[in-house]
């Protein structure tokens, strides 16, 4: 089979089982787009034309998070790739498998400051797992094979393949062969945990008097949910999760203490503080989780499973490190549990649970349910009821994100899709497009705010083109809420630039894009309006929910404080 570079690329994507390409055409990728056009009826992946390259990367990212399969992006050189950088960095921080193909100026003019030339591999180097510059047509197939292999194995991440325009020249055809397998001598991710370490970990876990299990996004990414559930139930230990790990263990289960960290629950953070054995699974001890490291789990011996050795003892020294894929390692631990005669200390465990029940009585997620203004927490609770907890929920970044994490109880992995590491405003809507394309029949909700949604609002147009019936729930408090909250708490109420004075009419805006817009201002209308919105199965509905502008996210651990130094919601408070 003689193919041009453009055709080879599309053929490679077909062989990789790629369903969707999220992209935007331009000069340097014209040959590729022409090949795509000609191969449309020949099983080429479906191309989704976004309205901004940032949207393409977030959509591919959302697709990847919802399916576990790599997201694929195609952008042109220069501004095409610089616009994609935010989305690439977002995926990198959360270890999302993604392959980004970017066009590059012809190899003969590289380095001459040609039109739409940027050093794409240079610009993206700090925020990709790996990247390649391909200048010869014969290198396209092996490089794409490597890119998918690297993106999807070990600790996943985005890989960029920058292809010069001359390498896709339609006049140059070469025999096509796609490598079946690939082996890189410099890249061999661990396949299982070290048996000695597994044994030590199990012994330590069983010796615990006040055990705590802390899980992260790695459990979701590594498909470790099943063995995790089995292990946690078998041990009967309490479990908490980071923002990224929500859903790996069912939030409605009695052993689940809710999210931990800066806006985690009182019981989860207190149990972290007082535990004597901490079992960290696929989590990376992020600063938003640990609080002040000086006070972090001061009584605990720590066991840590991670696929990435560099995550272990990076921020917190651990006692029993286990490098390996989370699913396999958890299975090994279950096997080890079968082998040992030792049982958990039931008496100590009962006392520990009693203490945890005491902490739960604080009712840390308490908010004013009789308010005359719509409370953002109430919106998420209503949303949870109406979608029966089964929606795919994407979010942007800020207060709404934290409320979504606190009040929507995710029972399954890959349902909660948000930018945790980079904290990218503008992520939610394009990510929801990727999720909806992956699961056309599922209910997909984007929980956002009036600040975040405007960062990628142009994708409403893409949603119309591909008939994506995403439900956008915008908690409109007229403030950049999280910024305002910090300014209230730590800057004596100097609300510097956290208020937007000229917001669009979001209902009309949604309508202008060809969608349905609804506004709700009275708590009495909330439930009904949400029901109406979700009844419109085939339409994108933009819900502009006017919420209480003074509401803050609680509980909160201020920066520099330990898990045991939480702020709970004050009974009465006024905006300073």
């Amino acid at each position: 089979m003689q193919l041009s570079g453009g055709e080879i690329l599309i053929e490679c994507l077909k062989r990789e089982g790629v369903e969707f390409i999220f992209g935007y055409p331009g000069g340097a990728v014209l040959h590729i787009y022409d090949a795509l056009f000609r191969m449309q009826d020949d099983g080429a992946p479906r191309h989704i034309l976004v309205r901004h390259e940032q949207g393409a990367t977030h959509a591919a990212d959302g697709y990847a998070r919802a399916t576990g399969k790599p997201g694929v992006v195609l952008v042109t050189s220069g501004p095409g790739v610089t616009n994609a950088v935010t989305g690439i960095a977002t995926a990198y921080m959360d270890s999302i498998p993604m392959v980004v193909i970017s066009g590059q100026v012809p190899s003969s003019v590289i380095g001459s400051d040609a039109f739409q030339e940027v050093d794409a591999t240079g610009i993206t180097r700090p925020c990709v797992k790996h990247n390649f510059l391909v200048k010869r047509v014969e290198d396209i197939a092996p490089t794409v094979k490597k890119a998918f292999h690297i993106a999807t194995t070990g600790r996943p991440g985005p890989v960029l393949v920058d292809i010069t325009k001359d390498a896709t020249d339609p006049r140059v055809k070469i025999p096509f062969e796609y490598p079946e397998t690939i082996s890189l001598r410099s890249y061999k991710p661990a396949e299982a945990g070290h048996p000695g370490q597994i044994k030590r970990a199990v012994e330590l876990l069983l010796a615990a008097k006040r055990p705590m299990i802390y899980t992260g996004g790695g459990v979701v990414l590594g498909e470790g949910s099943e063995p995790l559930r089995a292990l946690v139930r078998r041990l009967g230990y309490p479990i908490t999760s980071t923002l990224m790990g929500l859903g790996a263990y069912p939030a409605t289960d009695r052993q689940f203490l809710g999210m931990l960290g800066m806006h985690g629950t009182y019981e989860a953070n207190m149990a972290m503080h007082e535990c004597d054995v901490l079992f960290a699974v696929g989590a990376r001890f992020d600063d938003r989780v640990t609080g002040n490291l000086e006070h972090f789990c001061p009584y605990a011996k720590i066991i840590h499973i991670d696929i990435d050795p560099s995550s272990i003892s990076k921020n917190v020294k651990v006692d029993v490190p286990i490098v390996g894929p989370v699913k396999r390692v958890l299975e090994q631990m279950l096997e080890q549990l079968d082998k040992t005669r030792r049982k958990p200390d039931e008496k100590a465990l009962a006392a520990w649970w009693q203490q945890i029940e005491e902490w739960k009585k604080v009712d840390c997620l308490h908010y004013d349910r009789d308010s005359k203004k719509i409370k953002p927490q109430a919106v998420i609770e209503a949303l949870y009821r109406i979608t029966e907890g089964r929606a795919y929920v994407t979010s942007d970044v800020g207060q709404h994100q934290m409320w979504a994490a606190q009040f929507y109880k995710f029972d399954e992995p890959r349902r909660w899709i948000n930018s945790g590491g980079l904290g990218t405003m503008g992520f939610g809507l394009p990510a929801a497009m990727g999720v909806q394309l992956a699961h056309p029949d599922a209910t997909v909700v984007c929980i956002t705010g009036e600040g975040s949604i405007q960062m990628c609002i142009q994708e409403l147009s893409t949603c119309l083109q591909y008939r994506l019936p995403v439900k956008i729930v915008s908690l409109n408090n007229r403030y950049l809420g999280m910024v305002r909250q910090w300014q209230e708490m730590f800057y004596e109420g100097r609300y510097s630039m956290s208020y937007m004075d000229a917001l669009p009419d979001f209902v009309k805006l949604a309508e202008a894009y060809g969608h349905v817009g609804l506004r709700v201002e009275d708590p009495k209308d909330l439930e009904k309006t949400l029901q109406d919105a979700f009844a419109m199965k085939d339409r994108l509905v933009f819900l502009d929910v006017i919420t209480d502008p003074t509401e803050n996210v609680y509980p909160m651990i201020a920066q520099g404080k330990g898990h045991h130094e939480m702020h709970l919601a004050p009974e009465e408070r006024e905006l300073a």
């Binding site: 591999t121 001061p298 702020h567």
Partner: protein
Amino acid sequence: MLDRTRDRLPAGRFGPTLPRGIDKGKHMRHVIAVLLENEAGALSRVANLFSARGYNIEALSVAPTDDETVSRMTIVTQGTDEIIEQITKQLNKLIDVIRVIDLTESAHIEREMMLVKVAVPREENGRLGQLVEIFRGHVIDVAGDTYTIELTGTGTKLDAFVDNLQGYDLIEVVRSGPLAIARGGRALRV
């Protein structure tokens, strides 16, 4: 405003607390050898890693090995044990990196090369010649009053040589940065 901040825990409620965080131990000099794919961008990935994560590089040298697909890099850096552990882990994580070893963990040999250009009046070149001989260097170029000397050794030896040149007109000093290899039969190979 009612503040329900809770800080009810007496220190050490369950006995001694364990030290947490990455300790602030002593910064030591380490020599790290890296084998990496001889490919465009590989060097910049390593350099990028050091600057992005705030590690310092005192010296770095890199060249292809007997296997032309592989380059060997010698990095001299400073850090606590924990920082050095992170550096080696982060280097290992780079896709182009094949092997990493911290040579300072065991017996090893270091050699650095230096070229020194110095202007010496004719009547004093005898003393310079002696000095070069004592340090087992070579004069590799002479042009008028200008002598270029090649010297190999450990960093301290090179420093000592330069110190001894005080009083001469030192025109240029070029140092390669150290190369290092493990003692005995141990080897770093692909």
